[in-house]
């Protein structure tokens, strides 16, 4: 087993763990942050699998824009809730 293969195995296991944590998180904001970490780690996996184009796109969209949009949606939903109650 080469170093890259071992690294890939470790990353895959961490990815699985983070995905499980994202699904079972109690607070929605934590789930969003776990998803962000998931895409950041999958960027490393994509680079190791020699797909740099996919890696750049995933880094920008997956962990940047998507996380921000989720966080803002959560913020405005909570503000709406606070107003009606």
């Amino acid at each position: 087993m080469t170093f890259v293969e071992i690294l890939l195995l470790v990353i895959s296991v961490i990815l699985l763990v983070i995905a499980f944590m994202a699904v079972t998180a109690e607070k929605l904001i934590h789930a969003v942050l776990y998803l962000s970490a998931l895409s950041m780690l999958s960027v490393v996996a994509f680079v190791l699998l020699k797909a740099p184009d996919v890696a750049i796109t995933e880094a920008v969209i997956g962990s940047g824009i998507i996380t921000a949009l989720f966080v803002f949606t959560l913020l405005s939903v909570e503000r709406k809730k606070g107003k009606t109650e």
């Binding site: 184009d53 969209i61 940047g64 824009i65 949009l69 803002f72 913020l75």
Partner: protein, 236 residues
Amino acid sequence: MKKLVGFVVSLALALVIILTLNESALFPAFGEVDLAERISSQYFNLAQFEAVGSANIVTAILAGYRGLDTLGEVTVLFISSIGVAFIMAEQTRKRIELDYKANFMLRTGSRLIVSLILVTSFYIILHGHLSPGGGFPGGTMIASAILLLYLADEEFRSNIRGFKILESLAGTFIVVTGLLGLIFASAFLENFLPSGTIGELVSGGIIPIIYILIGLKVGSEISGIIDHFLSEEETV
């Protein structure tokens, strides 16, 4: 209990997936795929010559041979931005109020970082035919710079009308470039410029032009979506 059931179910699914795909002819090990079976070898043979002239084979296929598909992709993003504008746009909108107050350091520092992000995004767009990246990631990076400005400065509003004009102009010019290919060459979106030396910045025929236009279009579209998300109805 619920977590345990979920764990067992996902474990069983993983087992099924591994058992079906392992040693399967359709799913060879990493690095052992015969690319000639999956991608038309025509692309690889042609990309080396002056037909496309892009050093990055992904870009050569995405913006060169499959330019029409990329145009469709851009159209999908355009439709989604129209959808967001249709649902969320009102006449009088003000910015959403953030829970924290941005201090002087945050405001000034973010200006500096925004300029760095913008330079990186233009680098990625301009070198789309040479290195990984291209119009879509670069455009999204422009939008993330705008997002940072929104976060760091509560007074900031981007010029949405300017973004709309830029988006429409970029979309129009992509189609015009395609039509020029129809006039000067034989097909829609075909390369009609000299492709130059592979590896130089000014090479690859129309691919850099199309990628710059796609980058501007994607950036302005996503910036518009961000503005819609970060503004709300005026409550009188």
